[in-house]
């Protein structure tokens, strides 16, 4: 079953897209996503996909073309990073509001300014309230697998919402790793043929897309959108379970790593979850009760799973690779805190902002965070609720 390949994160996602063989892809290049679309365009030029590849003049147009294609009944995909995603902003909300099951890879990069091409999560975090699902990838294998699963999740009749699959820029996108690639027919069988419930090209059954929707029904449509989002968690669980049963790689909305008997824990997303696992193992070998909660699905936010996984711990540090300016800590932190409002056995929750603009995050930084947590657990004293890892003085 499948084959082992040496691929960068960008190549792994392009490979998944080749196997999915979407009807339409529209994209505009931006570092660090460029190599991903470069590779997919190569597949297109070599005749390996049947995709209509639309090369547009901006990201705003890229997502607009994808929206048009999706409304017409096509399975449509795109990919971008940072300022490209920011330029899509208007259409990002429209994609979700029109309930279009688009899948987009976001190769995480810091938003300008000043200009920075390296990884942080500020781009995707800007879209956290837009109505897209968000799956974060720990490594390139997961980015490949998430891309395939995202198609099924987005198109599920209970969901019908777009999905962002994120992978850390450079740290994953430009790093070669060992990837277990599925057979083409396995991917085709898993994603299945796309049969849209409504399609503009189905002229026998005309319908209206994106009309004026004023004080009469806009509110009700937003409520429907909330319901689609509320259904998504169970669908992500079910599709991930099916993927695991078929292909032996198991995923969930969150991953509890050495967490059950842990006294202190870290919450992380993306590639830092992998680095954190190494540190957890090292500290466990020294007899320390530490653990990790990895959040794979950030939107919808799996409140119950996160509350149940962390309740009763003495102290927990949430790592944020983005700032929510003017907010009470980073975006992941505020959500985790909200899950514990009124909960009696809530842990002490602290926040670390880290890795902005690609600043390195090393095992030593993770150890520092665990040291702080152990001190809080011992003394009950919290020096700073919102701190930094790897910040220069």
């Amino acid at each position: 079953m499948g084959k082992v390949m040496a691929l960068t994160g960008n190549e792994a996602v392009a490979e998944a897209m080749r196997q999915i063989n979407p009807d339409v892809v529209a994209a505009y290049p931006i570092t660090p996503q460029t190599e991903l679309m470069h590779k997919f365009a190569e597949y297109h030029a070599d005749g390996l996909v049947n995709t209509e590849l639309v090369l547009v003049e901006s990201e705003h147009s890229a997502l607009s073309a994808v929206v048009g294609a999706s409304a017409a009944g096509a399975r449509a995909m795109t990919a971008t990073s940072a300022n490209g995603l920011a330029l899509m902003w208007e259409i990002v909300y429209i994609t979700a509001s029109l309930r279009l099951p688009v899948v987009m890879a976001v190769v995480n990069r810091a938003l300008s300014g000043p200009i920075n091409i390296h990884c942080d999560h500020s781009d995707a975090m800007g879209c956290r309230d837009s109505g897209w699902l968000q799956l974060y990838s720990e490594n390139s294998q997961e980015a490949y697998d998430n891309t395939i699963m995202a198609v099924r999740i987005a198109e599920h009749p209970d969901v019908l919402l777009p999905v962002m699959v994120t992978l850390d820029g450079f740290i994953l996108s430009h790093t070669m790793e060992r990837i277990d690639v599925l057979e083409d027919h396995e991917v085709r069988d898993f994603v299945g043929e796309y049969k849209p419930r409504r399609a503009l090209l189905d002229v026998e059954h005309p319908f209206t897309v994106g009309p004026l929707d004023l004080t009469d029904y806009y509110f009700e449509h937003k409520r429907q959108q909330m319901e689609g989002m509320a259904h998504a968690e169970a669908v992500v669980e079910a599709v991930s379970r099916e993927f695991g049963e078929r292909f032996g790689r198991h995923y969930d909305t969150v991953e509890e790593y050495q967490l059950e008997d842990a006294e202190v824990a870290i919450v992380a997303m993306g590639s830092t979850a992998g680095t954190s696992k190494e540190v957890v193992d090292e500290l466990r070998q020294a007899g320390e009760k530490v653990g990790l909660l990895k959040i794979r699905m950030f939107r919808p936010f799996p409140y119950d799973r996160i509350r149940n996984a962390l309740r009763g711990k003495k102290a927990v540090a949430v790592l944020d690779r983005a700032v929510a300016f003017g907010s009470y800590g980073g975006p992941v932190y505020t959500d985790v805190r909200a899950t514990f409002y009124g909960v009696s056995d809530a842990p002490v929750l602290v926040n670390y902002i880290y890795g902005l603009g690609g600043r390195d995050i090393t095992p030593a930084h993770i150890r520092t965070a665990f040291d702080q947590l152990k001190s809080i657990a011992r003394t009950g004293r919290v020096e700073t609720l919102v701190g930094f890892l790897g910040l220069r003085d």
Binding site: V4, M5, A6, I117, H118, E138, N139, D168, F170, I171, L172, H174, T175, M176, E177, R178, S271, T272, G274, T275, K277, E278, D281, E282, D360, I361, T362, P363
Partner: protein, 192 residues
């Protein structure tokens, strides 16, 4: 950190193929069933500027996604880098340094900032590349020297992998030139 993993740092100048060498080694490791990571350090690259690239090789999945701070082995594609960067930075005692140079081991040893307990190899990879490949590109030669010095992979695995990749990417004759280059480098380091 558990040290069942081998970590290699490549120093070169933009255009010498440090990134390509880091990736080729990882690909060869993955092709024989190992786990590997390879990544360059992204900065304002331009031809001639000092660049670094990294390779990790292990028998189990590699979960670390952080820079290599304490490499087991350092490969230097250009000896003039010794005047500019500390190529021994983070190397533990017993670490391996392999330098492409026409100078002697003693001359190079005197230039290293960290002197203690390093296993130093020198090889004139640029000359060897000119003799075998006909171009002054030292990176594949240094792959042969690296495998000779560290046995991080079985040598025949590297040879077969290069032969296969270069035949497909370029031509069988270019592949054979590169195979000849890595063989001579491997043997030279083995004799040292």
């Amino acid at each position: 950190m558990s040290k069942k993993m081998t970590e290699i740092r490549w120093h070169g100048r933009g255009g010498q193929g440090a990134k390509t060498a880091a990736l080729l080694l990882a690909e060869a490791a993955i092709d024989v069933g190992k786990y590997a990571q390879a990544f360059p350090e992204y900065g304002p690259e331009r031809t001639g500027a000092p660049v670094r690239a990294f390779t990790r090789i292990a028998d189990a999945p590699i979960r670390l996604h952080s820079p290599i701070e304490n490499p087991d082995t350092v490969v230097v594609l250009d000896p003039t880098l010794l005047d500019v960067v500390d190529v021994t930075e983070g190397l533990p005692s017993g670490g391996v340094v392999i330098i492409n140079t026409s100078a002697s081991k003693q001359e190079m040893a005197a230039k290293l900032r960290q002197q203690d307990q390093l296993r130093l190899y020198v090889i004139d990879a640029t000359k060897l590349a000119l003799e075998t490949i006909g171009r002054p590109i030292p990176n594949t030669v240094m792959l042969g020297a690296l495998v000779g010095a560290t046995e991080v992979l079985p040598f025949d695995v590297l040879v077969e992998d290069l032969r296969d990749k270069f035949s497909k990417k370029f031509s069988p004759s270019i592949a054979e030139m590169n195979v000849e280059a890595v063989k001579r480098a491997y043997e030279e380091v083995k004799k040292a």
